[in-house]
Amino acid sequence: MKQYLKTFEDLKKTANEPSWLLRLREESMASFARQGFPMLQNEEWRYTDVAAIRETAWDLEPAVPELSPETIDALKPRSGRNFLLVLNGKFLREYSSFEEGLEVADLEGAIVLRPDLVEPHLGRRAASGNNAFADVNAGLFKQGLFIRISENFIAKDPIRIVFLAQAAKGSSVFQVRNLIVAGKKSRTTIVETYAAGNEKSYFTNAVTEIVLEEGARLEHCKVQGESSEAFHIATTQVVQRRGSSFVSFALSTGSCLMRNDCRVALEAENVSCELNGLYLGDGDQVLDHQTFVDHQKPDGKSGQFFKGLLAGNSRGVFRGHVMVRQDAQRTEAHQTNKNLLLSDTAKVDTQPQLEILADDVKCGHGAAVGQLQEDALFYLRSRGIGEKEAEQMLAQGFAREVIERSSLSFMKETLLELVNEKLKQQLCSRS
């Protein structure tokens, strides 16, 4: 912990930042100093041990290397005009492109140039005093990405953001910080992809804050495909204003240890939110998804649908917390988590949590853990389909449901491809 606090003291000396930001940083680091990194005794972390992160002497200020043109070309999407590249947490404007109507900048610049847009949102909710990793991020982030979508703007193409981690030496930590403000009645799709440029060990500590102004619709897809040497801890904090709708899909296949906290505050009336997720683990991976959906006002709707496929010694965690506050009458909230264990040593912990303080609500939840059905395998094999292919087909069918059911239409094919690729690895390790 000392190392983090010392780095912060050094940073304060050199940084020339507005006082509101310094205050945010001070408060965050003070909160971190009080609680330290979470232990298993901490209820919210009881399934995921972060000792490996706690005990590593990380390089807290890694350099941002030069990228070769080949590397950049390989990252660019096949189509669409919106491509943003973030390397080791730093937004690289020169390699990015985006359509008019989008305001995209590095966060460190926006803090100075657009305080009117940044100050009201940055760190207002993500550093809520009970999230050590978000605290560290708030205290130590130096760079980040700022996206503002203009009012009434309808993006023609999805905004594809690649977060590339390229550690110059092992044990680098990258503080990734994003602020996305979707203006009134705007409609956008954002795809965040996390990937590694080499095989060195690193730790991505990401905080993404998203604000949906009145009537905005945002589709958000997060593809976590970090290297197997990586740790990935991320908080996505969403704030929804009146009549807005948020749809998300989290596909998690990478990293040795991942924790995804998705927190949505439905702060006004008539808000809808749909969270979907699919996690596929093998080897010793730990993939932990946490959600907190906070219904604060009447007539909100939320749906959560998460599925896990776990092979080898991997572990999945899903903790879904739905809060319906007293004011939030006529709320509809549903949550489903289904898991398929592909080996005898894979494990999953699933814990739904409904906290309902309003009386006129429709809420439901369900959780299931199962294995590949012997009868279904027999059926497929009795049609001449080989054992491996039959397993692959069943697992794929299981995964497909969550992709098909989500409202993210444009990403379906890509997601299925990524899932199939990972499934092959998972099933290889099976025999």
Binding site: E374, R381, G384, I385, E387, A390, M393, L394, Q396, E401
Partner: protein
């Protein structure tokens, strides 16, 4: 085609089949009838290779090869087909995708070129006519949300698409209304040919009103207790299974 000798089969330590002898020649249709619990379904599943059924004694040779030495998919690829009594739902797997994978696996095993998506669709459309199935079936997940009749028709469609040499139908008539029964039976009749043999397992003889068997066997208490021609089915319908005493030694009716 198929030669079963003294077959004994157990499930979870309980002996269900207690010495079955059955010979099926190319092009023949054999009906196996019997009351519930007599071991009819066990016989079909053990031939297809269901892992829960353990052969404790006896043998089954298919085209001269030891069937029990072949894994499930190998039996299918060599031309053994089982139409399930209760076809299994496969959520998230599209029917057309499943059928294409199955057809191409069998084609590969027979040294034929795999069909591409277009060729397969053409091929399948022809087969779908046999069971009067419409194309919307192809884009639905396998058996999921299908009615009983639709599931059975889907089984016969698979039979038609895979073109086996030995087709085993496990109570395909159960749960069918009279129209569906006609469609399914008619489908089977169109698929009969001198190289293809059928084993029809059924509780009632009503399917045999539409499909004329060459031989009828009565299976009771894990043994074939009586064998005969088509008339045997009528007699069973008329007199019930009590008429055949399970203790009777295997005998020939005619």
């Amino acid at each position: 085609m198929l030669e079963i000798k003294d077959l004994h089969v157990s499930v979870e330590g309980v002996e269900i089949l207690k010495g079955i002898d059955l010979t099926v020649k190319a092009g023949e249709v054999h009906a196996i009838m019997g009351p519930n619990g007599s071991g009819k379904s066990t016989l079909t599943r053990v031939l297809a290779g269901h892992p829960s059924y353990v052969v404790t004694r006896g043998s089954a040779f298919y085209e001269g090869k030891d069937l029990f030495q072949m894994v499930i998919e190998e039996r299918a690829r060599q031309g053994v087909f089982l139409a399930f009594q209760y076809p299994i739902d496969i959520p998230g797997v599209n029917n057309a995708y499943f059928l294409k994978a199955a057809v191409n696996e069998t084609r590969k095993a027979r040294g034929l070129e795999e069909l591409d998506a277009m060729e397969f669709l053409e091929f399948l459309k022809e087969k779908m006519k046999i069971v009067e199935m419409d194309e919307s079936f192809l884009n639905r997940p396998v058996n999921e949300g299908f009615s009983g009749g639709e599931k059975k028709r889907n089984e016969i469609l698979q039979l038609a698409a895979l073109g086996p040499k030995l087709a085993i139908l496990d109570e395909t008539d159960s749960g069918l209304d009279i129209d569906a029964l006609k469609i399914v039976s008619e489908g089977v009749n169109r698929l009969r040919n001198p190289e293809r043999s059928f084993i029809l397992v059924t509780h009632y003889q009503r399917m045999l009103n539409y499909i004329t068997p060459d031989h009828v066997h009565v299976l009771m208490g894990g043994k074939i207790v009586m064998s005969g021609g088509r008339d045997l089915a009528f007699k069973l319908e008329e007199k019930g299974y009590e008429w055949v005493k399970p203790d009777d030694r295997p005998q020939t009716e005619d």
